[in-house]
């Protein structure tokens, strides 16, 4: 999978440059080149969340994916301490660079998820964290100074499913149902070296069925265009049928058949992490880092964030309308007129102003009524 389509385009642009120079040549074919340059200068950022029970190999996989050691001083809790453990959210941010391209990678971890004896609503703190990041971005975006907005929104969530069961568990279903509309969920079958190839096939099919049955919307790979070459289409299809990815992670380098590879050494053989016949690690890495990273960010920005924003605004205007309706029912005043919902009313400041004005109006109406009553009583008195 060394031929990225974008790379192809990149090279073909250069080729054209040499040939058509001088004819009807305008020059905007170099736009992708300019985009490339600017983006390299700006640098990229990516936030990846990993979620799943303890002991499924999340940290090892993250280290294998990005070939660094993010979890140097990690303290694991004892079983006794985990009985009443609550879910925490931890963030590790690292800056990595490759061929001049800088990536600010943030890994959000969820230690304690699913570890306590009572796990009811343990996904709540995760959902709250994601909402918080959205809210933060929403506020920043609506602010006056938007120069240096930090994008901490979670772009992708790798959910680790245990291979020791028969399929999805209630905890898995609940977590994914709670978060599938907030973040791109990529389910991953952890510690896949416990399953033979036929078992992996069966489990994947079963899990895909269960996911569809429960109505969980995991991250869908974008369909490739019909004019892409056959090889690419095949790869794309293979990718879609590998969900959930059966992965194995390793931080250790072992020697297999004379080569030094990342793997796990057993008395009966060596599992190579990067061997496509052994596990789907390579597919996952390619998908996550090499081909679909930008798409994940786009879906987060265009779908999940926009959903959140729309909901947020709707609930705010609903609050305002409800108040006004309450006013309508209790007082028959003619000062009620529907304030038009301005299309650009993403401004929380104007919302606040509107609310304040409404308050004032209400207060004035109250005073008016009181004065009227007083007049009536005085009249009766006479």
């Amino acid at each position: 999978m060394e031929n990225f389509s974008s790379n192809n385009r990149f090279r073909s642009v250069f080729n054209h440059d040499d040939e058509d120079h001088g004819k009807d040549y305008v020059g905007f074919a170099t736009l992708p080149n300019q985009v490339h340059r600017k983006s390299v200068k700006k640098g990229f950022d990516f936030t990846l969340m990993v979620a799943g029970e303890s002991g499924l190999g999340k940290s090892t996989l993250v280290n294998s994916l990005f070939l660094t050691d993010l979890y140097k001083d990690r303290k694991l809790l004892n079983a006794e301490e985990r009985i009443t453990q609550t879910v925490e959210i931890t963030k590790h941010t690292v800056d990595i660079e490759e061929k001049g391209v800088k990536l600010k990678l943030t890994i959000v971890d969820t230690p304690g998820f699913g570890d306590a004896v009572n796990n009811t609503e343990c996904w709540k703190s995760v959902a709250d964290y994601i909402d918080q990041q959205f809210e933060q971005y929403f506020r920043d975006e609506s602010g006056l100074n938007r120069k240096n907005i930090q994008d901490n929104r979670v772009h992708c969530c790798l959910y680790f499913i245990s291979p020791f069961g028969h399929g999805l568990r209630p905890l898995d279903v609940e977590f994914m149902k709670a978060l599938h509309e907030k973040v791109n969920i990529v389910p991953v079958l952890a510690k896949a070296d416990t399953l033979t190839p036929s078992e992996i096939e069966k489990k994947k099919i079963k899990m895909r069925e269960e996911i569809e049955l429960c109505g969980i919307k995991i991250y869908q790979f974008p369909d490739c265009d019909s004019d892409e070459d056959e090889e690419f289409k095949q790869q794309d299809l293979a990718l879609k049928e590998s969900i959930p990815f059966a992965v194995i992670g390793s931080n250790i380098v072992v020697e297999a058949k004379g080569k030094k590879v990342r793997g796990r050494q057993y008395p009966w053989g060596i599992v190579e992490v990067e061997n496509a016949a052994h596990c789907d690690f390579v597919k996952l890495r390619n998908m996550l880092v090499r081909t679909h990273m930008q798409d994940l960010k786009d879906v987060t920005r265009e779908t999940h964030y926009e959903n959140y924003r729309a909901q947020c605004i709707q609930s705010m205007t609903r609050m305002v309308v409800k108040e006004r309706n309450r006013n309508k029912l209790t007082r028959e005043s003619g000062t009620d007129f529907p304030i038009p919902v301005v299309p650009g009313a993403g401004d929380s400041e104007t919302e606040k102003l509107i609310r304040e004005k409404d308050e004032e109006l209400r207060r004035m109406q109250e005073m008016l009524l009181r004065i009227q009553d007083q007049m009536h009583t005085q009249k009766d008195a006479y």
């Binding site: 303890s54 002991g55 004896v117 510690k191 057993y266």
Partner: protein
């Protein structure tokens, strides 16, 4: 069946003698063995572990047979236990094996009550044995012993430590059953990780005071083997009923793209150790421990709950029967007292009701009298009025009669006058 041990104390009156020849009572163990072979053996295993962790597969592999299991779903609302009994035979030894599996263990969101069905099941088996023992007409030698002799606890191979649920459950069970923890699906842990994992598990069990089953060291024949095996706990097992050809043999194994995990290869996993320890060497000891330790503990707690004691306040030994009789008397007396109390209460209530009714009656009576008086008064008043009315009427009719008479007289007088006038006019 484990026989009750008769402790041979070195009594002062008993002196050891030496034999002059071969008597033949060294065949006593053989007689015992023949008897037990004739009766057949019975063994009950309880397997606790998450759904899909490999309990049924391991049982199939251990006993080299197919126990007809089906996959359970992950969405059971509560933990249940499923017991199945099988009759197995190897050479001339018959074994009645009961395998109890947990269904839905570890799947619920809230696992605080997950251990309860297991504890209830174990207690129920103890209870039915106790009931049989306490019966008047009992048949213990024919009784099918359903008490759990061994509990295999399947630990998920996370590689870090025990799960919180494991700790909580094992703590609740360690005084009721012989717990043998096993690491399931051990082909996902490398050798070095396994070593660390085992140490961590054992240290966690020790630091939380969980007593797992230790293989016995008192019999010199097996002490050495048992000691080494004790050091290998918990056993890391791999189960498989499929056969793969390795070399020129068919062995039970799991085939991976990177190699073949052989179940009976001691280098690959501890399955052989588990089979040897559980079945070949210590099965009888497990049954004995269940009977002498766990069952006795249960029995003692249960009877103490009911109020029985071995010695009364003056530290004199009290027999069970006497205590039972005493309890029974006490119970009957209490029953009688309650009956009396209830009767008294009943009588009192009746009295109260009676007096209430009487009061009500009196009140009604009073009101009745009052009403009667009123009625009489009104009647009298009415009578008076009637009389007055009649008097008025009679005086009125008298006056009317008088008035009519007067009118008639005046008319005739007038008529005469008119006649007179008429007559006078004519004249």
């Amino acid at each position: 069946m484990a026989s009750s041990d008769v402790a041979l104390l070195p009594d002062k009156g008993v002196r050891p003698l030496s034999l002059a020849g071969h008597v033949g009572f060294d065949s006593l163990p053989d007689q015992l063995v023949n008897k037990s072979i004739y009766q057949g053996f019975c063994f009950n295993i309880l397997c606790i572990g998450e759904t899909g962790i490999g309990k049924s597969t391991l049982m199939d592999t251990l006993f080299n047979t197919n126990f007809e299991n089906f996959e359970s779903s992950h969405f059971e609302p509560q933990v249940k236990l499923r017991a199945q009994t099988y009759d197995l035979q190897e050479s001339n030894v018959r074994l009645r094996l009961t395998v109890v599996n947990t269904v839905g263990f570890g799947d619920q969101m809230n696992k605080q009550e997950s251990y309860q069905p297991v504890v209830d099941y174990i207690d129920k088996q103890f209870e039915s044995y106790l009931q049989e023992e306490l019966k008047i007409k009992r048949s213990l030698h024919n009784y099918h012993d359903s008490r759990v002799h061994a509990c295999l606890y399947f630990i998920s191979p996370s590689g870090h430590s025990l799960k919180s649920l494991d700790l909580v459950t094992m703590k609740k069970l360690d005084s009721k059953v012989n717990i043998i923890p096993v690491i399931a699906k051990a082909d996902t842990i490398s050798k070095s990780e396994l070593h660390k994992f085992k140490i961590k598990i054992m240290s966690e069990l020790v630091s939380n005071g969980v007593q797992i089953y230790q293989f016995p060291l008192d019999d010199e024949n097996v002490a050495k083997v048992n000691t080494t095996m004790n050091g290998h706990l918990p056993f890391a097992v791999v189960g498989s009923t499929e056969e793969v050809s390795v070399g020129n043999k068919m062995v039970k194994a799991r085939q991976y793209p990177w190699g073949v995990v052989q179940v009976e290869n001691e280098n690959h996993c501890d399955f052989v150790k588990l089979r040897e320890m559980l079945i070949c060497v210590n099965m009888e000891d497990l049954r004995e421990q269940t009977h002498t330790r766990h069952y006795e503990l249960y029995r003692r707690c249960k009877l103490e709950e009911m109020g029985f004691k071995d010695t009364d306040p003056e530290s004199k030994p009290v027999s069970l029967q006497e205590t039972y009789e005493a309890k029974r008397q006490e119970f009957l007396v209490e029953l009688q007292k309650r009956e009396d109390e209830m009767r008294q209460m009943f009588v009192q209530r009746v009295k109260e009701k009676e007096s209430e009714l009487k009061d009500a009656e009196r009140e009604l009576q009073g009101r009745f009298e009052q009403l009667k008086r009123l009625h009489a008064d009104e009647k009298a008043a009415l009578e008076d009025k009637r009389r007055l009315l009649e008097e008025d009427q009679s005086s009125f009719s008298k006056r009317r009669a008088a008035a009519q008479l007067l009118q008639a007289q005046s008319l005739t007088a007038n008529g005469k006058k008119d006649k007179d006038r008429k007559n006078s006019g004519f004249m």
